[in-house]
Structures are given as C-alpha cells and as structure tokens.
C-alpha cells in the first residue's frame, strides 16, 4: 500500500520530466549496451585465441623426456654428505622415448572419473623428400576419432576428409605449409624418410591448417598404427598420452598425481601455456574497466538529473513532509526514481547489447590462419548480462543515494517560510 503510493508519486515526478528522464535512461542504455557488446566481442576473441592453442593442447600430457640421472653416483657415497658435488659423469642412457606400460596407463586413465578422454600419440621426426631436397618434419601418429572428439582435429583439416586417414592404409594428412612446398595435391603419394633411414611412401588424404604457420610447415598426421609401423615398433609404442580432464582447474593437481602414479613426466596446461591465461585475463580486465567507466559516467548523468529535479521540486518535497511524509518516504521516492531510470535503461541496454553483439557477429572475418572462423567471434555468455544488469542497478542506486539523502533532509519550514 505504502509502496504503491511511493511508486505512484515517483512515477508522476518522472513523467513530469519525461525528456530529462529519457536522456538519463538513454545514458544507462548506451553504457550497458556498449558494456555487453564489448565484453561479448572481447570474450569471443579471447575464446578464439585461446582455442588456437588450448583446444588442441591436452590438459595433462604424459611423456618421457631424455634426462640425466638425477642421482649421480657420488651422491650415494657416505663420505661427502654435506659437500657440493662437482663430479657428474653419468649421462642420459639410451632409452626409448615411449611410455612404458602404456596400455595399462591408458586403461587406468579411461576409468578415472576426473578424465573426459584420453588420446595416445606417437611423435616421430622425419624428412619430407621433395626431389633432391629433404625438409625436416614431424609426424604425429594419432587415434583419429579420439583426436577429433577431444582436440577438434576435424576443424583444422581444411581439405579432404579426416576419416580417410583411418580408412586408407598408409595415408597422411599434411600440414598446409609443408604441402605447399611439396606441391602436393589430394591423392598424391609423397615420400618420407625416417630418422633411421627407412623410406616410406604415403598417400595424401587431407591438408591440415592449425593457424600457426611455423607448425603447419612441419607437422603432419598419420594414424598411430602407421607411425608405429614406420618406426618398426609394436602397437604399445606411444610417446605421449594426452588427457582431457573434466575440470581444467584440476589439471595441475592431476598432473602431479599421474607423475607419481605412472612414473612418467606429466605437464599440465596451466604450466605449459601460462602466457595465454595472462593475455586473456588482461584483455578481460581492460574490457571490464572500459565498461564500468561507461557506467560510472552514466551514473553521473543520473546524479545530475536527480539533483536538478530535487531543486525544482523543493516545494513539493516540503509539502509532502508537511502533510505527513517522513524523510524516509521522501528518500524512497527519489531512490525509486533513480532505480526506475536504472531499470528501464538497463533492460533496454541488455536488449541493445544483444543486438550489437549479434550485429558484430555477422561481420565477415576471414583469416588464413583460422580456417574455421568466418565472422567475428562473439561470446554470448549470460554472465555478462547478469553483471551488466547488476551494475546498472548498483550505479543508479549510488547515483540516486546522495540526491535522495539531500531530499530527505529538506526542512519544510525553511522552504515554506522562504516564500
């Protein structure tokens, strides 16, 4: 009842100053819309840039590295316990790079409830033979289906069919850069030489473009079995086990566990790609800063208009107080005005923000390094809208707070006697 009366009075005051109110509300609308559009666009770009690396990077990678013996013989001597050891002569031994007992590890990982998927991989250095010239390269033997499912492998195959890699024996998907150098077409046969001198002929079934030029000049893909055959190794020969976990935040902890459990090296995505996280968070920070600045500016607009309204309505405030409205009621009336401006402006802002985002989202954006992207990327994260709505209410509340307080302190005697 009381609330209804206060709302009615607020609305009457608002409507009496419709033009100014609209300008104030438009300020909020504009800032919220820009805030949403900016964050959506920035979010989309971040996702795109991150996915360039992060999509294709396992959350945890298990591998073996050639390392010298951590405990040198002299350390085992009880004669020099507190001494600094200069004598280091045990060099790395000639070990295979594969992960021992890989089948069992893969099986264990697949049963781990933290794990979303596991993709084994075998990497081998090769030479691509082009006439007289040999180009260095790397062939990754992959499980085609798992690689597609977990690392969007399919998205980066720009020509040919991914599944042909599995169905055609001795086939290869060439990096686009390497293929251009070799003048290779789909269906061509190319020659490669392995590090121990064996030659193989492989059939080109597709081209791969990762977005990183250097990588595309070097990397190619075959199936796991083909790679193992070229290396003349058994089917258990796997150099990398790539793990995608359900919660990426858990990757560092899991990497540590796996390192101890499986006795292999294990690196998590956060450690391997720290620079990307930093880049994303700084970009996000900048967009938030710009968005919030816009909101604060519109807050000052509301502050101004309310202040003016209060000066204009001094008489009305005085008479309301004289006829029994308390300071609290007057405060509530002006806060309601501020919040109404915030609410109406905010809701319109959210709608316009969505519109702007959608508009940016249809602008063509063709980039050779990102074949899967055709238009500017937009992230329609509902969180942006929640934040935008919350901020519009908070800033208008703050903008209304001081003028309302001033209105509630108006002394009716001063006004009425002053006439």
């Amino acid at each position: 009842m009381k609330l209804k009366l206060i709302t009615e009075i607020s609305l009457a005051l608002l409507l009496a100053r419709l033009k100014q109110t609209m300008v104030a509300a438009f300020g909020v609308t504009f800032s919220i819309a820009m805030f949403i559009a900016l964050l959506s666009f920035m979010g989309g770009l971040n996702d795109l840039l991150d996915s360039l690396i992060l999509n294709r990077t396992p959350h945890v990678r298990l591998y073996n590295e050639i390392l010298p013996s951590k405990i040198q013989p002299i350390a085992r001597s009880s004669q020099f316990p507190e001494s600094y050891h200069f004598v280091r002569h045990i060099k790395p031994k000639n070990e295979l790079l594969d992960i021992r007992n890989s089948d069992a590890i893969i099986k264990a990982l697949k049963n781990d409830k933290n794990v979303r998927g596991v993709a084994p991989k075998t990497t081998m250095p090769v030479f691509y033979n082009i006439g007289d010239i040999n180009l260095t390269g790397v062939i990754n033997g992959i499980d085609v289906e798992e690689e597609s499912r977990l690392f969007s492998f399919k998205d980066y195959v720009v020509e040919g069919k991914t599944i042909d890699l599995k169905n055609t024996p001795n086939s290869i998907i060439l990096g686009k850069g390497a293929a251009d150098k070799m003048l290779a077409q789909l269906g061509d046969n190319i020659q490669i030489t392995t590090s121990n001198g064996t030659r193989f002929t492989l059939k080109v079934v597709g081209f791969f473009q990762s977005g990183m030029d250097e990588l595309d000049k070097v990397q190619s893909y075959t199936t796991l079995a083909t790679t193992q055959k070229m290396l003349s190794k058994p089917a258990s020969y796997v150099t990398d086990i790539q793990v995608k976990v359900k919660d990426i935040a858990m990757a560092p902890a899991l990497a540590k566990t796996y390192h101890e459990l499986f006795d292999t090296e294990a690196i998590d995505i956060q450690t391997a790609n720290a620079q990307f996280e930093t880049g994303s968070s700084v970009r996000t920070l900048i967009s938030y800063a710009v968005g919030i600045t816009l909101l604060i500016v519109s807050g000052f607009g509301i502050f101004n208009i309310l202040n003016m309204m209060i000066y204009e309505k001094m008489d009305s405030i005085a008479i309301l107080k004289a006829t029994g409205f308390s300071g609290k009621d007057v405060n509530a009336i002006f806060l309601t005005i501020a919040l109404t401006i915030g609410l109406v402006g905010g809701i319109l802002g959210l709608i316009f923000g969505l519109g702007f985002s959608a508009l940016i989202g249809i602008i063509p954006f063709n980039n050779a390094s990102m074949p899967a992207v055709k238009t500017y990327p937009i992230n329609y994260n509902p969180m942006f809208y929640v934040i935008g709505a919350a901020f519009s209410i908070i800033t208008t509340y703050l903008a209304g707070y001081f003028p309302s307080k001033k209105a509630s302190k108006v002394d009716p005697v001063d006004i009425i006697r002053g006439k």
Binding site: A16, I319, T323, I416, K419
Partner: protein, 230 residues
Amino acid sequence: MEKKKIIEAVDICKSFHDPITVQVLNDVSFAIRAGEFVSVMGKSGCGKSTLLYILSTMDTSYEGELFLDGVSMTNKIDEELAKVRNEKIGFVFQFHYLLSEFNNLQNVMLPGLKLGKLTPKEVEHHAYEKLRILGIEKEALKYPNQISGGQKQRVAIARALINEPLIIMGDEPTGNLDKKNGDVVFDIFKELAEEYQQSLLIVTHDPDFAANTHRIITMEDGRVIKTPSD
C-alpha cells in the same frame, strides 16, 4: 462543559543563533480546546509564524514542551512526528503548495493515502466529499494550473481536511488572495468551525479576519500579550 485541550504549549522559548542570538519566542504558554476557532495576531516579525511551525511539529529546535492531544511532542523522532502531522494536523499555507503533477482530487487524496487507514476507493470518496463541502467538486479532475488562485486555496483546504484532523493550522491563508476570495476562504473556515466543530488556529495580520474568530491571541516581541478566555 470544559472541552479537552487539543494543543497545549508550555513555556516555549526559541532563539535564532545565526548570525547573532536573537530570542524570538519567550515563555509562550497557551492552550486551544476542541472546536475553537483561534487567530494569532501580531506585527510582522513578532514570532507568530515561528510559533505556528513549532506547534505544527515541523520545527523541533525549541525549549519548553508541546502537547498535542495530551501527548508530548518534544523529543519525538522525525518519523513519529511525520505520522502525527499526517493524522492530526491539517495545514493551509499562504501559498497553496499543490503538486502540479497530480490533479486536484489526487492532491487532496495524497495525505489520506499516506495514512493508509482507508482503501483508496474510500479515500477518493472522502476527497470528493470535502471538495463538495468547499464547492469545487467540479474542478476535481482538473490540474492545479487550470484553476484560479481562490480555487487552489480551497483545494489546499480540502487536502488539510482529508484525514479529519484534530486541528487545522493556517499561516496567513488569505494573504495571497484578493478581498473577494479571501472572504470566501474565511467563510469556509467559519463554516467548518460552526457546523463541523473543527478546531482552527490561524496566523494572520488582518484585523478584520481576526475579529470574526472566537478568540484572538495577540503577540508582541515573542510574548503572548493577550489570550482572552483561556
């Protein structure tokens, strides 16, 4: 039979301290009983308006004690005083102070809606009633800027009456009106006092106006110098 005191002022003193201390009210004591039509007379600057604002509870910086309907108003908080003003006091000022955003009917209804004792429908009915008593029910749906000064003052009186207050206070309610409209307003006050036993306390410096009231309180230099029949 002695009627009960609805307003009683006991030794009220007030000083302004800016720029120098000036005592404007000095030990003012008097009482008004139910149904009385009282006018306060005095020269400009004698403190009569200041007294009225203290009696109306809007001005709270004074010494002494004020009783309204037997209850002390001294040391009450803003919200309680607002409630008292809403329920027990009706105001008519020199200027009408109608809200231009609302039509006359809504202006009259506002204090009633604030009181919240009746439903909006009932408040509206009462508001029409008051406007009819004052002879301006035809103007109910017009806005304040569409009616004459005398009519505005009558709407303001209707607004003062809406919650059926204990007392109506007026600060030179005819001061802004011409002779004819002033007489109309005076007649309304008189009618309210005689027919409806409404208590009224009107500050004026118009001797003709004061002469027709039941009792004249005369003030000079912050003191009450004449309060007959108290």
